[in-house]
Each structure stands twice: as structure tokens, then as C-alpha cells.
Amino acid sequence: MNPQLILSLWRERWGKTEDKVFKVPYLQGRPNLWSESLLDAWAWSLPGVAVASALLCAFLLALVVSLELSLNSQIVFSVVIVGISLYLRRYGGGFFTLVMLGLSFIASARYLYWRFGSTLSQESDMALVLGFGLCLAELYLWLLTLVNLLGNAYPLKRSPLPLPADRAQWPSIDVLIPCHDHSRVSNELAVKAALALDWPQEKIKIFLLEDCPSDATRALATASNVVCLGYSDNPAGKAGSINQALRDTKSEWVVILEGDSAPSKDFLTRVAGWCVSDAKLGMLHTAHHFLVPAPSTRSLDLFQSPALSGSCAMLRRSMLAEIGGVTQEPVTEQAHTALKLQAAGYGHACIGFAKIENPSPNPNPSPSPSPSPPHQMPGVDPRTPAPLEVFRVDHPFSGNTLRHRQRLAFLQEMLQFYYPVVRLIFFTAPLAYLLAGVNIIQTSAGLLAAYALPHLVQGYMAQARLRGNTRFPLRAELWQTLLALYLLVPTAITALRTKFSQWISAFKSQEIAKDDAFDGLVAWPYAIVLGLNLTGFMAGMFQFFASGSERHGLALFYLLWAGYNFLLLVAMLAVAEESRHIRGHIRRQSQLPATLRLPSGRYISCSTRNFPENCLALTPRVPVMLKAGTAVNVSIFLDYREFVFPAQVASDQENVLWITIESAMQTSYRALATAVFSRGPDWPQWLPAQDADHPFPAWLKNSFNAVRIRTFDAIKRLGKIPNLAVLGGWRKNKKKIK
């Protein structure tokens, strides 16, 4: 999420004209036309052409990958393909994405072929073992990147389908709200949101589920006129009570809403079109987020992976019954349920628009703007050990009805889970040389750079092209690395014994509950690795100055590597030291303009901080100093309309005034809250700048532009530019006449 995207969304939301400056920064030019004519060429319709060209390409690829080049030729080759990528990345369209992926593949494949073929030690010694291990780690990383890139190459861009005009054909729906472990207030708001859903009244039923329902839940059910289902005889947790509720409910489709989620008003009308039109569809997800699109892009990818983080889904009762209800045993029931549905041959889809209200960061207690990992980190999934577990319990590769790409999705997830181990290898690899003098990459620094640089640059550009719109590649790298060791323990345990999954689940929630546990846990292994790197760096410096000049190149290479590790580790420690970002409220909160009527008859202009909480916090423009219990009137403005509520001051501290709305006005206050939040999603289904990438940081681009403009200014003063401008204008005119 970047300011440009937000601005663009804002413009679209309020119907502002799209300024050229804010357009998606991809060009549409002659290369686009070429690519289209290439794809539409008549030759493709001839029999055998596709196969023949595929064979030819495979042959050429093998040739290019295995070609041995001298240092100079390799440099020329690298410059050419990086240049092509830099040129093509400016153009929009899936074709160029694929071309960039292809170029990245070539560069990386060449690098790895050369690494395995020419850089390993010739003798069977320590250097061979360590060097081979490093090569394997690199191969693993490359495979992971490749699978990731393939999956993201073509976003499916599913958008809502219209429902049939005849309302009789709309399916009947049961909304199940499991209230386990959620607060009364959040349950209440979930029920209110469910009641506000646009759907024919006779076709929707709402159920509250809880093991041994508490009085509060029962009261809530009675007050909102919904059914409370409790199964005190068999407390089976969330999944269990959903399955029991499935027996007691009848509708065609089941929507499962967490107690802490609140769908927007038009959620069902937007989602259900797919359910009606596709009879094989068994499960439908929507994105589980409001402003941060990253975590769910996975569900939109080509593999149709089950959404691992989304906990709100629409399921077809008959198909769910066929697979025996929601899976109960493992940690993430969604993934397993989706997998079972897929295995049974039914469809699973995710629609890419925001459904749930903003899990907004609470403005109150967090002093630092950036969140610290692990659990609510934007951009990176916490990666619960689900897929590995899926691998062990359900064996997706042996399930015979799964499609290949679905298997690939699980492969991708599984590969992701050994990431921590590999990271550790990269952090410790240079130490082998710096501390023990074992040279694990036996080649010259120049050749290594000529092979490795295009591999890294191309990979980075391809990543940026595919994911750069939602993640800043470098920052994502930092976060992932920080998570790596943290996840090592659960990963190892899951790999060994699935039965421990319950224990991991408990471990996770314990981590969430304890504030400082995470930071300490994560920081110390990195501190050790950091210390090792620092020692290695010093030793390397000593060697560099002590040894003869013939070994300078090699020492310098390892020193740079250790230095890079050092920077990365320090950055990570800094991140770990950041204070935890506490999300005090799960719900979207609004800052609405308001005014406060004091007992003296004066009015103070202010704004709300946590609307629609019952205990409303206001920020007055000037300190007001009111005693607790003072009766005031608060007016809240919505557009040009004003709503007045009598209230009492609860406390007044540090320029934040907490007031409680009089209980007689609670109903109107709730109604206003519903009016404020019942609007459809503010965000379009496919974000306008979703395809934009940001491989370079803004300061780099800006300084480049500044230099360019200065240079042009200088030339202009020399009087050359007017001629060029005239020439340019003339050319343009000529084109127009054509």
C-alpha cells in the first residue's frame, strides 16, 4: 500500500477525474501492439506449430543455460538481458510479465548450472561439502521463487457475478456466528452486521454458536431476535459446534462469520452470484482485509490455494455434508476443509474484494507507526504450520482427483516451510571462509559477479513486477527473515509429529497473550548470529591486511557478504526491538467531526476517536477540563447532517475526553453507527494500481528525476533544446496527419 494507491482509490471512490499523474505507471505502446499481433498470429492455428515451437524453445533454453562463456562474453550477455528487462518492465500487460519471468529463469538457471558445474571444490574435502550445501540451498531458494512466481504470474481477477433478477432463485442462507473466545461487544457488532445484510428476509437465518452459551450470548440472541445454538453436552470447540449446527439448520448455503468480523451490507449480494452460477462450487472466500491486500493475494493466485488466513467462508451444505463437515483435528480447519472439497472434485474460489471491516491499528497505545511481527504483520503471512500438516495428514499428492496446479499450491506451501533453515545457511556461509579459511565458492570474484548479479537483479525485478504492488521486496525480505527462526521450532515439531498441533495452537495463543515473549524469543538467536558475523568480519579484515594481494579479491567478496548479513541482522534486531503494535479494537473506527456542548452553553469543536464505541473518546481542539459526571451534549456530523446525543463525561485526561452516551439514546447511537458503517465497501474489486510495481525506492527515482530535469535545464540554457522541441513538435504533427 503506497500513498499513490490510496490517492487513486480515493479518487475512484469519490468519482474524481483520474489525473494522468496518478495513473498506473505502465506504458501502453508499440511493444504492446507487437505482443498482441504475435499472440494472435494465424500460424498458431496450424496443427503442430505449438508443439514444434515449444520443442524449439526447450532446445534453445537448454543451449542458453549450458553455454559456457568467457568473462567478457558473460558480461555482455548479462547486460543485454538486464537491459531488455529494464526496457520491458515499463510496459503493462501479462505478456511482458511472462517475458520478464522467462528472462529471470534464464539468468538464474545459467547461474545455478555454472555454480554446480564450475565452482565446487575439485577435491573431496570440507570445501566441497560446505560448497555443495550452499549450492543446494540456492537451488532450493530458486525453486521456491520459481513456484511462487508461476503461481502469481496470472492473477485470476475474479469479480462478483450478478444474481438472477428473479429473487425466488436466490439460495437460502444460514449465517453461523461462532462466539467462542470473542468479547460481548464484538459479538454484538457481528450480529448487528449480519442482521443488516442485504438478502430476502425469508431466505436468511442467523445463528449464534457457543459451547455452553453464556447468559450474555443468550441475552444477545434474544435481544436481536436470532437463534442461539449451544451444545453443552459435547463441547467440541468451534469446528465441532459448527458441525453440530449443520445438523440443526437447513438452508442451501452456510456462511460462517467469526464473532469478531463484520461483513459489509452488500457482502452476500456480491458474493452469491458465483454460488448460483457455478453448481460445482463448494466453498467461496472473500479477502479478509480492508486496506492491506497482501495476505490474501495468495488465494487469488493461479493455483487457487485454499485461503489460509481467511476465516470467513460461504459453503454449500450438501457438499460440506458429503466430506463430513468442517475438519476438526488440525489447527487451520479452513485449509483442510478446502482441500477435502477440492479432493472431492468440488470448486473453491476466492473473490478479491474487501469484505471485512478494517482491522485498523488502534491510534491509542502504539508509539511507533510500523507494526512489529509476528501476528498481525501486513504483507507477510505468519505462516502457521498448516500446509506441512496438510502434507502429513492429507497427502495432497496422493489424492487422485486433485488438479496439478492445486498440488503445486501445496508444494509451494511446503517449500516455504523450510525457508528458516535455508536463511540460516546464508547467514553463516561466509563464516566458513572468514573464520575457518574454507573457500566454498572456488572462482574469481569477477566471474561470480558476472553470473550472480543478473541472477539477483532479474529475480528482484520479477518479484517486484508480480508482488511489488502489495509488498516492498526489501522490506518483505526483512520480515520474512525475522520470522524464519521464530518459525523453526513449530516447523520442526510439525514435521516430526502432527499430533502436537494442538500444542502448537496453544503455544501460538500464549505468544499472543504475553507481550514481551516474542521479542525476546526471536532476538537472541539473531544476536548470536550477529555476533558470529561480527567476529568473522573482524577476522576477515585482519586477513585482508595481513595476507598478500593475490587473495584480496576473495577476502573482499566474503567481507562484503558478511557486511551485508551484518546490516540485515542489525535491521532485524531493530525491528524486533520495536514496540508491539497493539490492536485494541477489531472494528473499524471513524474520526468524525463532532461538537461538544458544555454546561456553560459554549460549544467546542472536536472529533471522535473511536466511534462507535460506547465509551466515546473525543479530541477537543482546546483542553476543556471537565469533571467526571458532567452532563454534556455531543453532536456527531455525518456529511451535512448533525446528530445530537446527551452524554456524561467519564474522564478527561491528556486532551482526550471520554464520554458515555446516555442509555436512553443508545438505540439512536447504534442506528447512527449502522448508518455510518453499512455502506458497501469503499474499495473497488480490482484496485486501480494493483498492477503497479515499485522496484526502486522513491528517493532514488526522485533524485534521478531531479538530475534529469537539471540537465535539461542546463542544455536549454545553451539554446539547444528549442530546436529539439521544434523537431519533436514537427514529428508529432506529421504523425497526426498520417
Binding site: T595, R597, S600, G601, R602, Y603, I604, S605, P620, R621, V622, N633, S635, Y640, E642, F643, V644, P646
Partner: protein
């Protein structure tokens, strides 16, 4: 046009709000109300003369200008005797463009805004305004009394619009208090009835306005963060935008 709705206070406060947008020396207020109260709002004590006397002497209105501490130039009505007032009104009745001509002669408001305060009801002063103003702001309270005067005002405005169809007239609600049911309902009714002719910003009821007058300051200076000040600033922005259209 209606009495007791806070015309003079609103004129003074709005002038101060516009001046805070436009800067010093560009906003003037002219008091055409024989009650001669406008200068009080700007803390001006003893004006040597006023527009009434200057007009009778056929002098330059520029000499009647009194600078205030709030970037607003004030032209008070002046302390006059009853015969003088009558003579002035006769003069105005004879020449409907007197006001516009005098302002032009004195060079007042050439590069700015002039706000003119009038006495309630139809009068020779109001006729002068109708002849030269760009926009007429009709201050109303959201109560039954104000509501009952609307038909009369609409008929005056109808007559005027025959002469000057481009003259813009807008109703501004003063002392809005949405906590009172009657106030809220009348405001709603006026909005339905008059539609876009009600200014988008009403001024909230706020004790700070009365207190500011007691301190002889514009409310924007007295209580800059009060709701009334807030509303007046927004009204000033809206007024400048409307005039620029």
C-alpha cells in the same frame, strides 16, 4: 431583514472571518442601522463621524473609515440626531444608487469585500442594498417566528429579482441547536422548502458569541476553537467561493 436574529453580530463576526482569509485592508463593514451598534463589536470607542453625517455634508466616506484591531475597516452609522437621520433617509429615498456611488467614490471594497448591516424590515436602507449588492445574506433563526416571515421576504426578493435577476440571495441559519426538537424540525423544513438557497453552513448556538460581544471582540478572536467560530470560518470560505463564481 428580521429583527433580533443576530444580524449585527453575524455581520461583524463574518467580516472578521473573511478578513482572516483575505488579509488586512480588504474587508470593510458599513453600518446602515440607525442603532449604530456595529462598531461596538470591533472595540471602537468614539468614532468622530459616521456615514450618515458624511452623506449629509456630501463629504468623502473615506474619512468615515475607522480601522480596527481585527483587520476590518469599519464605517459606523454615527451618532446623529433624529432630524439628521430623517434627512439622510430622505436623501436615500431620492437617490436609489447613493450607496453604491459613495462606496465607489471612496474606493471602498475595490479589491475586497464590503459587508453591510441593515435595520430589520423594509426600509430605504434595504432598497439601497438591493441596488448595489452582489449577494444578500438573510439571517434566520430556526424557529417558528423566522419561518412565518419567509413568505414576506420571498415576495420582496421576487420584486427585486425582476429588477436585478443576477442578484443572489441566500438564507443563513443562526443559533442552530439540533438538541432542541423544534429547532431541528424547523431547520429541516427550511432545507426542504428553500433547498439550495439555504447556506450549507449554519451557525451553531454558542454562548461564546454573546461573551465575545461583552468583551468587544469578534468571536473568532475570543474563542477560536468554539463551534460558532468554526462555522463562521466555513461560512466565510463558502462566501468567498460563491463571490468568486
Amino acid at each position: 431583514m428580521k429583527g433580533g436574529v443576530g444580524k449585527t453580530s453575524t455581520t461583524a463576526n463574518l467580516a472578521a472571518a473573511v478578513a482572516s482569509r483575505l488579509g488586512p485592508g480588504r474587508v470593510s463593514v458599513v453600518d446602515l442601522d440607525p442603532q449604530n451598534a456595529l462598531h461596538w463589536h470591533f472595540g471602537i470607542n468614539n468614532a468622530p463621524t459616521g456615514v450618515c453625517k458624511q452623506s449629509l455634508d456630501n463629504g468623502d466616506w473615506a474619512t468615515a473609515c475607522v480601522p480596527s484591531a481585527y483587520d476590518v475597516v469599519c464605517l459606523p452609522y454615527g451618532n446623529v440626531t433624529e432630524p439628521e437621520r430623517e434627512a439622510f433617509e430622505t436623501l436615500l429615498a431620492q437617490e436609489p444608487y447613493w450607496l453604491g456611488r459613495k462606496l465607489q467614490q471612496a474606493g471602498i471594497g475595490q479589491d475586497g469585500v464590503v459587508l453591510i448591516d441593515t435595520p430589520p424590515g423594509p426600509s430605504v436602507y434595504l432598497r439601497q442594498i438591493f441596488a448595489c449588492a452582489d449577494i444578500i445574506l438573510i439571517i434566520l433563526l430556526a424557529d417558528a417566528g423566522s419561518y412565518s416571515t419567509i413568505p414576506a421576504m420571498e415576495s420582496w426578493l421576487g420584486d427585486i429579482s425582476l429588477l436585478r435577476p443576477q442578484l443572489n440571495s441566500v438564507y443563513v441559519l443562526n443559533q442552530v441547536n439540533k438538541a432542541q426538537v423544534l429547532n431541528r424540525d424547523v431547520a429541516e423544513l427550511l432545507n426542504q422548502h428553500l433547498g439550495a438557497r439555504v447556506a450549507p453552513v449554519g451557525i451553531h448556538q454558542d454562548e461564546a458569541v454573546s461573551e465575545a460581544l461583552a468583551f468587544r471582540q469578534p468571536v473568532l478572536v475570543y474563542d477560536p476553537h468554539g463551534q460558532a467560530s468554526h462555522d463562521l470560518s466555513r461560512l466565510a470560505t463558502w462566501l468567498i467561493d460563491t463571490l468568486n463564481q
